[in-house]
Each structure stands twice: as C-alpha cells, then as structure tokens.
C-alpha cells in the first residue's frame, strides 16, 4: 500500500539503491516495448537510447547525494571527508544485507536447501571440532598444564620405552630445565580395608617429585616427608578423594585412619582433592623410597613412567637437549646403558595422553571438512544457477556504471548470509552430533573427556562458517562480475557470459571425487571392522563372568610364598565349586585378550626348540573357555603338586617344535618363566586360540597347571559361565571368597568388557566414516540433480525441437542423463586417485583388508555412478515430459 505519509528518504541513496531504481526503470521500459511487439533485442536498444548516457547520469545522481552527505557530515559532526566515507561503506553493506535477505526470502525453497546443505556440513564440522577440542585443546586438569611432559627413552624402533628408576632419579637430581621429575608405577590393584569388607583399589607407587610435577597439592594432610622416604621407614599412603568417600563417608576423618593394604597396616597422611586421579584412575599413592631402588631393578630395567614439569623458559627441545647430555654422562659411567643405545624422548603430556587414537580424530575432522567442501560446492552451484537468471539485471547495473567490486560484494554478502544461517542450524546439528559421538566414542579417542561445544568450538565454527561463505560465494561472484553489460542488454539475458555449465560440471566432478574418497574410506574401515567382528578368537568371548583376585602388591605379603598362594586358590576353587548351579569354573593367571609372556621352550634331549608363550591355568580352563582338545588330555584333579608335572601345548607349538615326532610323552621345560624349575611331560594338544587379541595371530603356546607351578600366581582370574545367574553370581562368589580371606575381595568384569577395547575403536571408526560418507553421498545426489536439472532447463528448447522432430522420450532421457553422468565419471576417477593417497593414512587402522581394497573401490565407483544415474533420471524424465509446442512458442 502506498503511504506517502511515511517518507524514508532522509538517508542519502547508496549506489546500489540508485542502481536498483534505474534497473527497475529500464526493465519496465523493455517489458512495455516487448509487449508492444518489439523484439527483445530491439526493445533493449531502444530502452538504452531513451535513457541516454547511463553512466554519466548515474555519476551525476550519485554526486547529488555525495555532496549532500558530505555537507551533512561536515555540518553535523565536523568530521573530515574521508571519515564521512566510512558510514557510506557501512550503509552499503547494510543495503547489501537487506537486498540479500529479500532475495533469499523470495526464493524460499532454494534458500532452505542451501541452508540445510550448509547446516549438514557445518554440523559435522562442529562435532569434530568438539572432538578435537576434547582431545587436543581443552586444558588438562593441572596448573600450567602446557609445561607438563612425559619422558621416555627411545631408539629407532620405539619412542616410548619405559625408564629405569635409577636413570629417572639421576635426571631428577641433575636436570635444571625440568623443575620436577617424578617416576611412577601405576595400575597396581591393591586390596584395601579399613573397617568392614576389603575393597579393590588402584595404587600408584611414586617418587616424591611426582606431586610437585603435577602441581596439585593435597586437599588435606601432606605428601611424603623426608622421614617417610628414609630407608626402612614405615610406609604411609596418600589417598584420593573418591576412595576416602568410599571408605570413610563424607563425615569421617581419613587422616585419623589407617588402612590395611594387602595385609599391611598403613596410616593415611594426605587426601588429594576431588578430580585428581592421575595417572590412570589411581585411588592411592605410596612412596618409592630413593634409598631402595635396587628392589626396582637395574639401570636397564625399563619399568617406570616419568612425568616432568618444564621450568620457566625451558622448552621441550631444551629439556630434550639437557636430558640427552645427562644420559650421555650416565652412559659413560655405566657401560650397560651405553650398550642399549637409548636416548631420552620428551613429549608433551597431552600428546602422550591422546596417543595413537588422536590420529583418528584428525581423520574424522578431515572427513567432515570434506563434507563441508561438498556442501560448499553444492551451494556454489545453486548460486551460479540462480545468478544466471539475474545476469540481465547485473548487466544493466554494470551498464549504469556500478563497479564490479559492488557486484562481487553483493554476491559475497549473500553467500555469507547463507553460511551464517547454515551455521546457526549447524550448531543444533552439532549439538546432536556431539552427544552421539560422545556416547559412541571410546574413551581413548577423546582422552576420556566429554565433548562439549564451548567458546573455542564456537570460535572455530565461526572461522569455518566464514571460510565456507567465501568458498560458496567466490566463484559465483567472480562470474557474475564478469558479465558483459552490452551482451546482457542485447541477448535478452540468456547465456550472457557463456554458459557456466563447464564450471558447474567441474564442481560436480570435485564433489563426486570427495564423495568417492569418503565412501571408499568408509568402505575400507567397515570391511575391516566386519573382518574383526568375524574373527574367531578360538575361545568363548561371551557369557563369561570374570572375578579377579590379587594376593598382594607390597612385598612381605602374607601370600609371599608360592605354597600360600596355591593354597588360597585351591581353597577358593573348593569353596566356589559349592555354589549351586555352577557347573564349571576356570582359573587363569593372565586372562585373554592382551599381554602374553613368552620365553625359551626346551625339549629334553634336543637342541632349543625356540620360543613359546607361557600360560598358567587351573580348573576346567579348556572346557569353560571352549578350547577344543585335539589329542590326548588336559589337566585333571589328579595333576597335583604331588605328582610329576604335565603340560598341554597348542597345535602351533606342536607343529613348530615337533615337526617329526609325536609331542605327547615328550619332556619339556620353560626355564625362567617363573620361579620354579623342573620339567613337564606333554599330555595333550589343544586348538590354537588368539590369546593376545583378535587382531593378533595365534602363537605357539604351552599351558601349565598353577597347582604344579604356583610361582606366578600373585593374581589369578576366576572364570565362570555368567548364565549361572548374574548378579546373584557375583554375590555368591563374593560370599565364598570372604570365607577364604575377607581381605582379598574379587573384582568382577565380563568377558565382553575385556574384549571391548579390541573392538570398540574399530566399530567407532567405521560408524563415524559411514555416517559421514552417507551425508556426502546425499549431498552429492542433491548437487548432481541440481546441475542436471539446470542443464536440462537450459536445453529445453533444443529438447523441444528434438521432440518436435520425432525424437522418442527415451532419447531425450538418455541425452540428459549422459550430460549428467560424465562429470560423475570423471569425478569418480579423480576420487580413485584421492582414495589411493588417503589409503596411506588408513593403513594403520585396517585389519585383514587392504586400504586399497579393489572390491571397495569398485563398489564406491558403482555407488557413485548409480547415484549420478538416480540424480539425473528425475530431471531427465521431467524434460522428456515437456510439451514441445509450449517450449517452442516461448
């Protein structure tokens, strides 16, 4: 409605406003002339003639305003002319924004598709930014955490060799660049008792500088004093907040308490603040007395982790240089160290915590950035297609003397507006994504920290949004600004600067190539995961309940002798076997999957047969674990300490050590595997199993009975069928264990939980990539369909003529599809090269499938061609259905 009472014209008109006004005028003139029967071209020439010298008039009109604005600025604010230009630029951008908003609002469908596309791309990016943030950026819970380092030893093959205690103590004494160097052992499980039942807790043994290095002081009490560290002093313990709550409740005073740790009475001297559980999930810390390092091995016993804190001004490099110098001095004194040829290796604590899974985070980020790129390509194509319809308008603007800069600016403002819309929606997608990834990701991927969208993530997202906006806009903007005004006026706005088909096809090619890389990577990881899932470990990996008992981590435990330990586990077996419904149970010194000790395997009367892995078991191990017996027998109740030792070997060892004789009846030994000596007669052969984890092949193994070789029984795991009623099973076993020794409580786990670390990261990797690739594929469909539709629309006339000349609809469908498919084919080929390059990074993550798997590559190519076909088919059908007469008349 006209409302002359509401004038808005107080602000001086901007060049864009003037252009809009004049463009409107010329367009109306042309339209009127065409209606009056002029040809489009003649109408344009006539309109231009009537207007006069457009560029000159535009300048004159603008100068009217410029003078006005400058006069106003000078009189109102008393500012210089240059300064007065700034508000003009600002109001120009404001005008562009308003224009962008209007034109976006008018094409709702297109805007919605664009924003949804960008939201998918940016949402994924937000999610992986959150993962990168959790893994690499969010501060660790230590003061000045950037100064914290781990120190290892390294050679050509390994960079994370543990450090001998003596070496760490020398560093701690002599280093100046590191203000505190603490050595520690951790992950020791201890049976801890105050009043009531014993509980299992995780213990770390640390040198005094450990706490100084972390920078965390105890919340109450103290850490270790000089007296505590004197040789032969009574042990004391510092406990964690959580364990203090568990043992003494919120009201108790831990500092007045003593604990029984593995049977020793130890006073509590300090309580650490809530949240401090470094390293791992440690509940209590005891001191390593510097006087007694002999107990912890020689200068070549690589047992200790080392944490250090960089002093003021020190860097990783300077610390590295100093420790290298100190190590050289040590090596000069101790030839055994020189012989090892190890050098110190200083790494930031954060890098150490993230470990190899950090690579996965980067791969994930690269994947979502690919999707973002695909989204940008789509949006660029959509904008190119739409700007074509505005080229006539642009031509007039240019003819009227609008600068090309102003045209570029307008298109860029529009694409940045779209990107901002996409980012706002993308944050919502990202919120959902972080929840999902946070729930699915194994702790190792995020170093156990939650994924959150914090200020850093938002800042990164703003950057990504800006980059996406620029990427989407730059091609359409450059192209639009290259419009030739004369051509725009004379050719009726059709194909003004040459069709952008080639550009659009090139973009489709890029998009398809990116989608191919994602698809093939996802395919490789998914196949790898399927292979992993399909692995038959050879033993039962479900439905087993594990109860781990450990008899002592401190020296001079009541279970210090092999006989005492054997007696404990024999009594435990006897007690647990009375649980009703329990059909069978097994004992294992080391439960699979994972670590497996190995050593020399000796056959009496023959030369060394090489290496074998040593497994100490009890109960019905083979029956409970469902390991098939191939020949002979396994251990029975009669195989006690009182009778000669027997051994069971697996098929690999049988083939390796006894290629020409029957192993059964052979007398063998594995010297040095435990404290015991003596030989054992082989009585049976069992099937190979993958004790070291599903990705590790079976190895030669020899089984011994703990009842005959009780030395290595500091801890054993009781295994029962969990269908014997979980959780009632845990209660029953706990009750029976209490009868044997109330100070040795079991720690329960399921076999599934122990298998999870071997399977979950792979599941996560493949799921992440599959989801990302699916999104990329979806975007590719949209992108291809958009370009093919556009191409088909531009060829409508040609198709109409073909149809009029009698071409059957099938031919037209084929023509349109062919035009759509060839950039897809080229893109897929490019993508194949990309995938071969990316395969290098995936190699460390794949299992029993090549990172360049031909089947996956073929399937990816076929999937993309099918996608291209599908995406072209719909516009092709539509074109074929067009009535030729209506096209030709237009």
């Amino acid at each position: 409605m006209t409302d002359p009472a509401r004038p808005t014209g107080k602000r001086p008109a901007t060049p864009d406003a003037v252009d809009e006004e004049l463009t409107y005028h010329v367009d109306r003139t042309v339209a009127a002339l065409v209606e009056a029967g002029w040809s489009a071209e003649a109408a344009r020439q006539e309109a231009a003639r009537r207007f006069g010298d457009a560029a000159r008039w535009r300048e004159k009109i603008l100068s009217v305003h410029q003078e006005g604005a400058l006069r106003m600025a000078r009189t109102t604010y008393g500012i210089s002319e240059t300064a007065a230009l700034l508000p003009r630029l600002w109001s120009a951008v404001g005008r562009d924004l308003a224009f962008a908003w209007r034109s976006l609002r008018h094409s709702t469908g297109l805007t919605a598709v664009t924003i949804a596309t960008l939201a998918l791309g940016l949402g994924g990016t937000v999610t992986m930014f959150a993962a990168v943030n959790a893994a690499f950026l969010a501060p660790l819970p230590f003061p000045e955490e950037q100064a914290l380092v781990k120190v290892y030893q390294a050679n050509e093959r390994r960079s994370d060799v543990a450090v001998p205690l003596e070496v760490a103590l020398d560093w701690s004494r002599d280093s100046r660049s590191l203000t505190a160097i603490g050595a520690y052992l951790y992950g020791i499980t201890a049976n801890v008792q105050s009043e009531g039942d014993a509980t299992r807790a995780r213990l770390a043994r640390v040198t005094r500088p450990f706490f100084h290095a972390t920078g965390i002081a105890p919340a109450r009490g103290r850490i270790f004093s000089d007296e505590d560290l004197a040789l032969g002093a009574a042990p004391v313990v510092v406990i964690g907040h959580q364990l203090a709550q568990r043992l003494f409740g919120a009201t108790g005073d831990p500092l007045k308490e003593t604990l029984r740790i593995d049977g020793h009475t130890v006073p509590v001297v300090g309580v650490m603040p809530p949240g401090f559980s470094f390293p791992g999930n440690t509940d209590l810390w005891t001191a390593i007395e510097p006087g007694g390092p002999a107990a912890y091995g020689s200068r070549t016993a690589h047992n200790f982790n080392v944490i250090g804190r960089l002093g003021p001004g020190a860097t990783i490099a300077s610390a590295q240089a100093e420790l290298t110098r100190l190590s050289d001095e040590q090596a000069a004194l101790f030839p055994e160290m020189a012989a090892e040829g190890l050098r110190p290796n200083v790494v930031p604590l954060r890098v150490d915590l993230v470990g190899t899974q950090g690579q996965m985070v980067w791969i994930g980020l690269a994947a979502v950035l690919c999707v973002l790129l695909v989204a940008c390509v789509n949006v660029a194509n959509l904008m190119l297609a739409r700007n074509l319809t505005r080229e006539a308008e642009t031509g007039i603007r240019l003819a009227l003397g609008a600068g090309r800069g102003a045209i570029v600016r307008l298109v860029m403002v529009e694409s940045l507006t779209l990107a901002t819309g996409g980012a706002l929606l993308g944050l919502i997608v990202g919120l959902w994504g972080t929840n999902l990834v946070g729930a699915l990701a194994p702790d190792s991927v995020t170093s156990g920290r939650p994924l959150v969208i914090d200020g850093r993530v938002v800042a990164l997202t703003v950057l990504a949004t800006f980059a996406a906006g620029l990427l989407c806009g730059v091609l359409p903007a450059l192209r639009t600004s290259r419009v030739d005004p004369r051509a725009a006026l004379s050719e009726g706005g059709r194909a003004v600067a040459g069709s952008p088909r080639r550009l659009m096809n090139a973009l489709v090619g890029i998009e398809v190539a990116l989608a191919f890389v994602l698809l093939s990577s996802a395919g490789v990881l998914a196949r790898s995961h399927a292979q992993l899932e399909a692995v038959d470990s050879g033993f039962r990996t479900d439905g087993l309940l594990l109860a781990r008992f450990s008899l002592g981590s401190l020296p001079e435990s009541p279970y210090g002798t092999p006989d005492a330990r054997r007696a404990f586990f024999e009594r435990l077996e006897a007690e647990v076997s009375t649980v009703p419904g329990l059909r069978a149970m097994a004992l294992a010194a080391i439960m699979p999957p994972g670590f497996s000790p190995n050593g020399r395997f000796v056959i009496e009367g023959r030369p060394d047969a090489g290496q074998a892995h040593f497994r100490l078991v009890g109960g019905d191990y083979f029956r409970v674990m469902r390991i098939p017996i191939r020949r002979g027998r396994v251990f029975t109740a009669e195989d006690t300490a009182a009778v000669p030792q027997v051994a069971v070997i697996n098929e690999s060892l049988a083939a390796l050590a006894f290629p020409d004789v029957d192993p059964i009846g052979q007398v063998v030994s594995m010297p040095g595997m435990d404290g015991g000596s003596g030989v054992a007669t082989i009585v049976g052969i069992v099937a190979d199993v993958r004790h070291r984890g599903p990705t590790q092949p079976a190895v030669a193994e020899a089984y011994f009975s703990y009842r005959q070789r009780p030395w290595r029984t500091y801890a054993m795991t009781l295994v029962v069928d969990s269908s014997a009623a979980l959780p009632a099973g845990t209660d029953a076993i706990r009750a029976k264990a209490r009868l044997v020794d109330a100070g040795i409580p079991p720690e329960f786990q399921t076999i599934e939980a122990t298998m999870a670390p071997f399977v979950d990261p792979s599941a996560f990797r493949s799921r992440l990539l599959v989801v990302v690739a699916a999104v990329a594929l979806l975007l590719a469909v949209v992108g291809i369909a958009g370009v093919v539709s556009h191409g088909a629309a531009r060829r409508q006339r040609e198709m109409g003529i073909r149809a009029a000349l009698g071409a059957p609809p099938g031919t037209i469908v084929r023509l349109v599809i062919r035009a759509g498919l060839w950039p897809v084919g080229v893109g897929a080929l490019l993508g194949l090269f990309g995938a071969l390059t990316v395969g290098r990074f995936l190699r460390t993550f794949v299992f029993e499938v090549s990172a360049y798997d031909p089947a996956v590559m073929t399937a990816s190519a076929l999937a993309l061609l099918a996608t291209g076909l599908l995406a072209s088919w719909w516009p092709a059908r539509r074109t074929a259905k067009i009535d030729p007469a209506s096209v030709l008349r237009a």
């Binding site: 409605m1 002359p4 808005t8 008109a13 409107y24 207007f51 457009a54 008039w57 003078e67 006005g68």
Partner: protein
Amino acid sequence: MAMHVLQGTLNVLILNALGERPLHGYAIVERIRAASSGELEIEEGALYHAVHRMEARGWLSHVWQPSENNRRAKYYSLTAAGRRQLAREARAWASYGAFLARVLRPGAEG
C-alpha cells in the same frame, strides 16, 4: 515531430506529475508522456537526475514499495515545500507562457 523538453521546465513537469499521488520514476515518465500525448521527448536519465536533486532540496520524499509488477520500486511524493514550489512554478510558467504567446503573436503590439 517530437518536442524536446525545454531547459528548466523539467522540474515543473515532475512536480506536476506528482501532484495527484506518489509515483515511481517510470510512472513519472509515462505520465508526462501521456499528458503531452506522446509529443514530449524526455531524456530519462536527466529526469532521474532532476528527481534526486529535487529530493535533496527537500521538495520530494520517497518510500520503497512493491510496484504493479511486484518488484520493489522507489515511489516519490511531494513534500509541503514541494507543493509550494509546484504552485510557484506553475504560476510563473503560466504567466511566462502567456507573455511568450503575446510576444510571438505576429503583428501584435506593433
């Protein structure tokens, strides 16, 4: 043969065209052309220049509004000062026209 707009008369033609209701530039041209039965030939760029100058002098104001073809167009209307100027110029041109007619009538006043 079409007449060209005489120097100085463009302002009054524009003010007059806007006398009834607000118009955008294209409509102003149409109006003037219709009023002159198509005899007046205006250089349209000059018309826009004049409109912008007149607005700067405070005779016109504008609003952006959707037009007949649904695109946004810039509608001008007269301000109070514009109406006074229209009246002033109309009077001046009317008397000037009468004067010229008298002067140019062959044989008049000698």
